[in-house]
């Protein structure tokens, strides 16, 4: 635009001078990479600003509405209660646990997919049951986390419920836990 035909005619540039200036301009553009870099780097403060605003809004909403309704204790307690009741009514499951889920009407897939844990042991204390490989029923992992003293204050750890019961004179330990979180799904 700057070097249009009119300017070229009015200022009486010679053709050679004009071509030389063109070459100089091309060379300038070729080696003047600093200018290009400064233009492109301006996207970083812009993105930084967007991220800071987004985090501020998310934090504000989170602080205003609170951390949510923690239901994991209730889940864990309901599961251990269901198992206790079921074993009391069907003590034969202690000898043959193959039909445990069917008899107790517990959906195994949900326990596996929704971060529930469940372990039932015979003749062991709750803590020993959590770390033992000698169990009647086990679903999930990380049973030891239920008995970590530091984990009680940590909201990220699962919430547990443990029960010691006596069935036909045999001590049965039930360790149940839940770390299920609400799922927000786009519709």
């Amino acid at each position: 635009m700057l070097f249009n035909r009119e300017v070229y005619k009015n200022r009486n540039f010679s053709k050679k001078k004009f071509e030389n200036s063109l070459v100089k301009l091309e060379l300038f553009k070729l080696f003047n990479k600093k200018g290009e870099f400064s233009k492109q780097i301006m996207i970083i403060p812009f993105l930084f600003l967007i991220i800071v605003i987004a985090l501020g809004i998310a934090l504000g909403v989170g602080l205003y509405y609170g951390p949510g309704y923690d239901f994991r204790n209730v889940d864990a307690s309901a599961l251990s209660n269901r198992v206790e009741k079921c074993l009391n009514e069907n003590s034969n499951l202690l000898l043959d646990a193959n039909k445990f889920y069917e008899t107790c009407k517990i959906k195994k897939e949900v326990l596996e997919n929704s971060k529930f844990i469940l372990k039932v042991c015979k003749g062991l204390s709750l803590e020993d049951c959590a770390s033992s490989e000698n169990y009647i029923i086990s679903s999930g992992s990380g049973f030891e986390n239920c008995f970590l003293t530091g984990a009680k204050e940590n909201k990220g750890y699962l919430k547990c419920s443990g029960r010691d019961i006596l069935i036909d004179g045999v001590k049965i330990s039930i360790v149940a836990g839940s770390n299920q979180q609400i799922k927000r799904i786009n519709t």
Binding site: Y65, D75, R82, I106, K107, N113, I185
Partner: protein, 148 residues
């Protein structure tokens, strides 16, 4: 001459594109933030969370053949304010996944799982005076576990 004009055009297009990228990023960020904030409109996300968990609790203690009733007046009011009028859209039960979903605002819904192996065969919201009541019918036969 032509070269410079072309270069100028290219520069202009480049600048224009850069401007477009900034605009695009701004628009995306705006929509993400807007959808996040609007999901909390009238406390919808908080009450979705509450009702999904409470319903999962009563389903965990349900037996085959039960008929359950739950006061969902607050949920009904919020959903109507946010233009969600359909009962089946407001509360949804997935018997395959054993999941209850609650939707009180357009856009997102909150889902929570229950471990009890029962089948929800029907549900409706009775708009009543003084409160809306969610009625859930549990099937008489428990669902069989496919995998043991």
């Amino acid at each position: 001459m032509m070269i410079i004009q072309k270069q100028g055009k290219k520069e202009f297009i480049k600048m224009h594109k850069k401007g477009e990228v900034n605009e695009l990023v701004s628009i995306i960020a705006y929509f993400v933030m807007y959808s996040h904030i609007s999901s909390y409109k009238n406390g919808a996300a908080v009450w979705e969370d509450f009702y999904a968990k409470e319903i999962s609790k009563i389903l965990n203690s349900a037996k085959p053949g039960d008929q359950l009733s739950l006061d969902v007046d607050m949920a009904g009011n919020i959903a109507r304010e946010n233009k969600v009028f359909n009962d089946k859209e407001m509360f949804n039960f997935d018997n395959e996944k054993n999941e209850v979903c609650v939707k009180l605002n357009t856009g997102k819904k909150s889902c929570y799982s229950y471990f009890n192996n029962v089948e929800v065969i029907g549900w409706r919201v009775d708009p009543g005076m003084p409160a809306d009541i969610l009625r859930i019918n549990i099937g008489k036969e428990a669902v069989n576990n496919a995998v043991q």
